[in-house]
Amino acid sequence: MASVTLSGIRKSFGATPVLHGVDVQIDDGEFVVLVGPSGCGKSTLLRMIAGLEETLDGEIRIGDRVVNRVPPKARDIAMVFQNYALYPHMTVRANMAFSMRLAGRAAAEIDARVNDAARILGLDDYLDRFPRQLSGGQRQRVAMGRAIVRDPQVFLFDEPLSNLDAKLRVQMRTEIRALHQRLRTTSIYVTHDQIEAMTMADKIVVMNAGRVEQIGAPLVLYDDPANLFVAGFIGSPAMNFLPGRLAEGGAVVLDNGGRIGVASTAAKPGQAVTVGVRPESLEIAADGLLAEIVVVEPTGADTQIYCTLAGRDVNVVSRERHGFAPGQGIRLRVAPHKALLFDADSGARIR
């Protein structure tokens, strides 16, 4: 196991810049998730750590070693690809054994390691099958098996679950976490799915357009986002945003004249701001702001109420069951410390 340090990583494909200076510190044994929308450069960054893409600008360290010029096979990493990249002409056993066979390990050791990995992943009965004869979930497990038999310093995962159906994805999410708890190998996991990031990560790196927006533990990002992008990207249903202007006395005046009390101290009166409120932070209260209900969706555990407030779509999640109907008015309130303030121009958080 080892730590991974990325400092000042830049990357361009031809004239197109893809990464604009990425700094990330990943501790030994940590499970870090790189999350961001499609095309933001997550895979590129991961492939640079793997050595599949050149790193000309910046520095990648695995443990104490700078690996910029080290070929993939000497970096002591293992990677699980999105399409699994299983060797189609090799059995499950041969797929897992391939790296050790190339390294010239003894047959007995190879057997022992492959059988170990197969037992951990529940693949014992499939060792002599070819990848084509396996289901998506089983192939995914073989890909993981191929990674763990090597006992590498770092695991790299590139959207390993995105080819699975929803149910299997949830199950594999748990399995990968359980595996990490057992092996404690430093892991870097790429996904565009913020729920995966929230549920799996020790630490999340939120990326957008080739930059790191924020790094932190899942709940820190949820409760204390650094900017509008992170606030909007993390959390489902997404945070509600209401534009307004800061007034005297710690309140924001919305476009329709409604007032929301805020706890921020750094903001200047008159400044254009965006108020961010999580759906579950909106309370239904008689002294709240008036909104109009558009759709009511009871999920059983809670009720999602979609409404419009000051001309904006607003989503409310309520634990109670209500008899609301579309078209009806509803009054919403938010506690001042639950209303997050963002600068309307830069999107930066105003604390």
Binding site: K73, I77, M79, H89
Partner: protein, 300 residues
Amino acid sequence: MKAAGVLDNRNVLGLLFLLPAAALLLVFLTYPLGLGVWLGFTDAKIGRDGIWIGLENYEFLWGDPVFRLSVFNTFFYTLIASVFKFGLGLWLALLLNEHLPFKGFIRAIVLLPFIVPTVLSAIAFWWIYDTQFSIVSWLLTRMGWIHSNINFLGSPNPARVSTIVANVWRGVPFVAICLLAGLQTIAPSLYEAAAIDGATGWQRFRHITLPLLSPIIAVVMTFSVLFTFTDFQLIWVLTRGGPINATHLMATLSYQRAIPGGALGEGAAIATSMIPFLLAAILFSYFGLQRRKWQQGGRD
């Protein structure tokens, strides 16, 4: 209503759709083939219907040293040419699969020998191999490597080598382009996975490229062997089977005996005796293809 019921049956409908194709096959493939085989059992001459003489043609050919030589030549020609076509074709395909500048242009050039009509390229080679005006002789003389022109087609072994070179030149593009198409179906992530798994360039070729390409290699090389085994135009233009029958293939001998020589029955018998070899080649690759278990089965 009853007719519609019959037509609804998938098998009946399938047969119906198959009929035209089957009829075409029967008329244009089976009939000439059958006629050829039958002719081989007669003593037909040009302008005279033959009578059934059983295996007499084959008995004669069995003892005919020229026929035996042509069988040897055919095997020699096919074997050597196919080995070189495979080696060069694979090498070219691997080269073209790399990131090269002007890739499309180079690929087009590689295809050239394939699209030029055989007769035309044969004539070009005839010129290249000319005893007086050969460009090869000229170049080698200029470089001071030889002092008199090479007699490419004038003596047995040089003629064999020369015809094989011409055949390889013509056949390599087909092999290269097919194998290139095969190479492009191999997912790049497999090579990346192998690189991470610690494979060197040679090991990636040996453990990923070659096994994944092998089904296509089998198909392409079967076709290549069939084409080479039955080659006619190139030899006929370059050497007409000479000198002293050294480059006579079964196909050229069959033609020579049947048409200029007039012995239709005997020519047909020579052609017919190619069939078992061709069948063997097809069966060989058919069973070779079947054994690849990893390609079959499973859900996707």
